[in-house]
Symmetry: C2
Subunit: 201 residues, 2 copies
């Protein structure tokens, strides 16, 4: 990375840390200036508008998600092992990648009723995530580990539901058994996805 | 209801409609004054502070949730039928009770990193909801329809995950198949909860 790209990444990392805690709406150039010891006018010259800052922060979060969750999963053997790696990476992302939890879940709640570029960017990202889940689940079908009639979109929907329930139990409810409940739900989903011969019933 | 209570309920209904769309943080006495044609000073005299307005709006949302979701479920026969009624009422709540969707999901995303009375109220409410699910699921066990070894807390966790996934698919993604996916996930959960003799495998 060039020096400029490094500075930009560091500023945006601070921006997504703030957004994970207070949301994208409350993320302002003024607040970012305070936290990064940079001048407000310098940041403003760089990002032009609050919306540009939000969009670039979201893009940076996407890069971080790929590093923390997607890349390690894709480095794992195709099949159920890879689906498990994706799930584990995602849990780590929710639990500790940013101080306020998953910034995409925070963004989703904010933008769902507000048309505009930020909403479109969040939806595009979520669509990519869903396709990532179905593609990885598809490798387990290809490898003969999971049922050939598995509905991959349904798998994706249910896996995402488990992740959302984890975020809720862990971050809002501070439920000491959150991880145990989450793993049990995922194991049940995996068992139901397996080829009949090794189905756990 | 007395005239005063009616007015209060009407104002708070407007407050939760706003909060469902923009969140509790962006809900201000000024904005509420505009939407209700009441004076800001009158509203301020009544609610004293933004926090009191937020807390009373959350309490009003809780009353509405009981009317729309809990009461009809409890009027249904104990057992699986009641669990289905609870789930159906909840879907209706997410899809259409308020213009911006479920106000509790909106509140959860806002308060999870912010200690204080609003967070405590949201957590209390969510705990009640979870107990409502486990109690209703328990009636299906008592009636002999569901397995005696069913883990009720796990059932609650997974049902809530399905509801969160529905909110996400329906409100953010505008997924035309959201309801179909949601119902399939719930049917799978019900089938896994049934007593072995009528288990669908």
């Amino acid at each position: 990375m060039t020096k400029g790209a490094e500075t930009r990444a560091a500023i945006l990392d601070e921006a997504i840390a703030i957004a994970s805690q207070v949301g994208f709406d409350a993320l302002t150039i003024g607040q970012l200036a305070e936290r990064t010891d940079m001048s407000k006018s310098g940041l403003f010259a760089h990002f032009k508008s609050k919306e540009q800052l939000q969009l670039q922060a979201l893009e940076r979060a996407r890069e971080r998600f790929i590093d923390v969750v997607v890349r390690p999963a894709l480095a794992t053997r195709r099949g159920e092992k890879r689906a498990r790696a994706l799930f584990d990476g995602w849990l780590a992302w929710i639990e500790g990648a940013l101080p306020g939890g998953c910034v995409f879940i925070a963004a989703a709640a904010e933008v769902d009723d507000r048309p505009g570029p930020l909403r479109e960017a969040v939806v595009r990202h979520e669509r990519d995530l869903m396709e990532m889940i179905t593609t990885v689940a598809g490798t387990a079908v290809d490898e003969g580990e999971w049922r050939t009639d598995l509905d991959l979109d349904q798998f994706g929907f249910e896996m995402y539901g488990v992740l959302l329930a984890h975020h809720h139990a862990f971050r809002l409810m501070h439920d000491a058994r959150a991880i145990e409940r989450t793993r049990a739900a995922f194991e049940s989903l995996v068992a139901r996805s397996r080829a009949r011969s090794d189905a756990i019933t």
